[in-house]
Amino acid sequence: MGKKYVLDVLGEVCPVPLFKTKEKVTRELSSGDTLLVETDFPRAVRNIIDWSEKHGHHVKVIEIDEACWQVQVTKK
C-alpha cells in the first residue's frame, strides 16, 4: 500500500485544482501513492479524471458532501 496525501482545494476554481494535482502527483508522489483531492468545483472533477486517465493513473471519485467531492488519484 502506497502513502496517502491530501490536497484541499475547496473554494478554488479552474485551473487551480488540476494544476496543483498535476504538480503533486508528478513531483511528490511515488508509484502506488494516492492523492486525495478535495474540491467543490464540478469542472475540476472532470479535468482531474480526464488528466489522470490520459496519464494512466488510477482514479476514483466519491461525493463527500453535497456538491463536494474527493478525487482519489493513485499514481501509476
Partner: protein, 174 residues
C-alpha cells in the same frame, strides 16, 4: 422516461452541444429582437444605477455619454436586463438540478482581492472592447464582423500570457 430526463440534466454534455445550443438561441434572439446576445452593456447600466444609489452621478462622465439613451430606456423589462437576470437564474436552476450548487468557502483575503481585481480588469476590458466573450466574440463573429476575429486573436494571446503568469505565481505559493 424519468431516468432519461435525470440523466440528461445531471450528466456532462459535450462542448459542441452547448455551442449548437448557443447558436440556435442567439439566432432566435437576433430574429426576434434585431440584436445579438450581449451581457456587459447591461452590466454597465447596472453600474450606473448602483452608482446613483451611493450618490455618484456617472451620467456626467464624458466616457459614459454613449450610454445615456440606453439608460433612459432602462427598467426591469429592458431586453438586456431580462437576458442577464434570466442567465443568472438559469445557471442557478441548472446547478441546483444537477446537484452542483453549494455556497463555497472563501480561501482567504488573497482570493477576495484577486477576484475583485479580476472583475475590475474584465469590466474595464469589456468596455474598451465594446463587449465581452459574448457580445464581441460570439456576436461579432456570427454577424460576420471583422472585430470578432480580432477579438479572438487577442483574447487567445491574452489568455495564454495570463496562464503563464498564473502558473509562475501558483508554483511560488505551493
Amino acid at each position: 422516461m424519468r431516468k432519461i430526463i435525470v440523466k440528461l440534466l445531471t450528466s456532462d454534455w459535450p462542448y459542441w452541444v452547448g455551442g449548437v445550443g448557443i447558436a440556435v438561441i442567439n439566432i432566435g434572439l437576433l430574429a426576434l429582437t434585431g440584436k445579438p446576445w450581449g451581457i456587459t452593456t447591461t452590466v454597465t447600466l447596472w453600474g450606473f444605477k448602483l452608482a446613483n444609489i451611493i450618490g455618484v452621478r456617472l451620467e456626467n462622465v464624458e466616457a459614459f455619454r454613449e450610454y445615456l439613451t440606453r439608460l433612459a430606456d432602462f427598467n426591469f423589462w429592458y431586453g438586456g436586463n431580462l437576458l442577464n437576470v434570466g442567465l443568472i437564474f438559469g445557471v442557478l436552476v441548472s446547478a441546483i438540478i444537477s446537484r452542483e450548487f453549494r455556497f463555497k468557502k472563501i480561501t482567504g483575503k488573497r482570493q477576495v482581492y484577486l477576484a475583485l481585481l479580476g472583475g475590475l480588469l474584465m469590466g474595464y476590458g469589456a468596455r474598451l472592447a465594446s463587449g465581452c466573450n459574448v457580445g464581441a466574440l460570439v456576436g461579432g463573429i456570427s454577424s460576420l464582423s471583422f472585430h470578432g476575429w480580432l477579438f479572438l486573436i487577442f483574447a487567445l494571446g491574452g489568455a495564454w500570457v495570463g496562464c503563464q503568469i498564473m502558473y509562475v505565481l501558483l508554483r511560488r505559493v505551493m
